[in-house]
Symmetry: C2
Subunit: 377 residues, 2 copies
């Protein structure tokens, strides 16, 4: 009902393969929980007409996507449609206490706007690895102060509802799977290029999180022997050579050394540059900006080529802040993958931009908690 909307009892019976009488018992139990309600008359299939059954229209989920530099909070209905969505800039390095104060304020704001009386569950994404069963971030390289913070426990107390916590990239993958470009795809990769770089891995329709919750941590795959120093302490990591942060740094460097009048003008106006500035400069035809994007696309494409050989996915989705770099970036990634991976793995492989943009993470967060709440156990 979450994914298909209102259903007649007859339709439900077809889907779950239960006899009429057993189904009636189950539906009555669901109605008692208040999770579903009767709603309108179903189309006749002969015999007595019955009411449609649907998820309770008052159900509300909170989807929270904590990025490195901003927070997205959205409220959805039971079908995971986003009813309201707010964004606030915030540095994740300010630590969990400050960040969750902000999250709670944003959740209260959405409630105050009349979109929700309260929340029946919340999903939270954080930009680092998570010990999934406990909902606790572990050793997140860009998140000092978060290691071991009991996110799940603390927030479920503050919000008064069940909470699930996951890595932000996994939630982006779930969002694109639920309502975006990866609908009905079983095995795919979702590469998020924001301040850092990560990869959501979906196997048989389920997010694969790895043994310690760090699966998909591709930002620290080495792309250059003796390359640039990385925050992780190694040299030559993908993230050190291409990510939102690396791109901003390269752009400022190009501006200061006179390689791009366009970027220099923007730097002077704003005092700093971001990936978005590079996107604008590239759109204006600035050759240095275009070069930076292509170079970055080659780097990340080289890593994705290896992952495609290894994982043989049905789809690769590129998302995150740098998707503003758009088709220039995508073209470089595609070139590398189609050149380096074997034809058997790339023959029918689409490499596409995500469809949902900033809604992907919050939708995935709502899906995470609804999967949990709607599961039989």
């Amino acid at each position: 009902m979450r994914d298909g909307g209102p259903n007649s009892r007859a339709q439900l019976g077809d889907q779950v393969d239960l006899s009429r009488s057993k189904l009636a018992v189950e539906v009555d139990r669901l109605l008692e929980t208040g999770l579903v309600v009767a709603d309108g008359l179903a189309a006749s299939r002969g015999g007595r007409r019955s009411h449609n059954i649907r998820l309770a229209p008052a159900l509300r989920f909170l989807g929270v996507d904590i990025g490195a530099t901003s927070i997205d909070v959205a409220v959805t209905n039971a079908e995971l449609e986003v009813l309201g969505h707010v964004n606030h800039p915030m540095d994740v390095r300010e630590g969990p206490v400050a960040v969750f104060e902000q999250v709670l304020a944003m959740a209260a704001k959405l409630r105050a706007s009349g979109l929700a009386d309260g929340y029946d569950g919340a999903g939270i994404g954080v930009p680092g690895p998570v010990r999934f069963p406990e909902g606790v971030p572990v050793a997140p390289p860009i998140m000092p102060g978060w290691d071991g913070f009991p996110v799940r426990e603390a927030l479920s107390q503050d919000l008064g509802c069940p909470v699930m916590v996951d890595n932000d990239v996994n939630l982006m993958a779930m969002g694109e799977q639920h309502a975006g470009v990866a609908r009905s795809v079983g095995d795919f990769l979702c590469v998020k290029i924001g301040t850092g770089i990560g990869c959501g891995i979906v196997v048989g329709g389920e997010v694969y999180r790895g043994t310690t919750g760090s699966a998909g941590d591709i930002g620290h795959i080495r792309v250059e022997p003796d390359g640039r120093a990385c925050v992780c302490g190694n040299r030559g990591c993908l993230e050190a050579h291409f990510s939102g942060a690396a791109l901003a740094r390269d752009a400022e460097d190009a501006a200061r050394t006179g390689r791009s009048a366009e970027l220099a003008a923007r730097l002077e106006a704003a005092g700093r540059l971001t990936a978005a500035d590079v996107a604008v400069a590239a759109a204006a035809g600035d050759p240095t900006a275009l070069h930076l994007i292509r170079e970055g696309g080659n780097r990340v494409g080289q890593v994705i080529a290896g992952l495609v050989s290894f994982f043989n996915p049905a789809l690769v989705v590129i998302g995150g802040g740098v998707t503003g770099l758009g088709h220039t970036l995508l073209a470089s990634v595609r070139t590398q993958v189609y050149r380096q991976s074997l034809p058997l793995a790339t023959g029918n492989l689409p490499i596409v931009l995500g469809e949902l943009g900033p809604t992907a993470g919050v939708t995935g967060a709502a899906r995470l908690i609804s999967d949990h709440l709607f599961s039989p156990a």
Copy 2:
């Protein structure tokens, strides 16, 4: 019963969570199929003593592991214990007709030795990607003549029993999982370094084959921009820089250019060198041989480091022909992985040699067909 041996009805009931009466019906159905038999009196748990139930002792599976340069064929009982095992050198490039003539001769030889009256099923591994549902090799780079050959159909006709076909590396992974070093591990990688290089991927206890059956094809991941030419048509592939074939070529090169008296002597004696010669020379302390192994270990370690970051496995198994290179190789691989991957992914990560050697593939093959025959559908 396959994995745990003979069981009493009471033990079975505990395991499958069925009531006494329902279990009795199921056991009777199994007895009727002839797949299981009553066997000896079970230990008393009070009340009337019952017979143990076990898989029929006459059941025989054929495990076939076709490598690039040799064929292994083994016969197992229902518990997948290897009762007999034969090996025959053969170049897979001779094509499927010649190879399967040889396989059938080896299967007949095992039968003639009294180990089997016939075969109840056979599992076959081939050194290339397989369209798994149909049991047909696809576009195998080192296997001209095999593309699209109906292995499953042809062999099940010739052997008169059900046949399942898979990639050889997947079967090695299943073998190590069933009876080797990966017992009870859910998520692991099994890297086979033979003539080529491939990787078996196990997710939640199940082999992951990818969208077109080419998952784990890591031999063509690029390790060197503008590196050596590879048979696949690209440059710088892992396999072109390190594999059984690359190592033999490098060793011959070292012998001819006077860099190793040890290797030169072996080349003169045999007319050619193999990875085994390098292993012997290294064991004798030959510095060039040791250097070649370390260099190779660094290359494959670099790729495995990336896969560990991506996949976050609980275990990495190294197997295949070059395991004769042993701990020198392993040390280089470990060094690269522990240096390049993040601590969260490597903290509790064992990187070990396979335990089963040439038995891994044939055991995995027997497991493949037994999984198929013993599954409820």
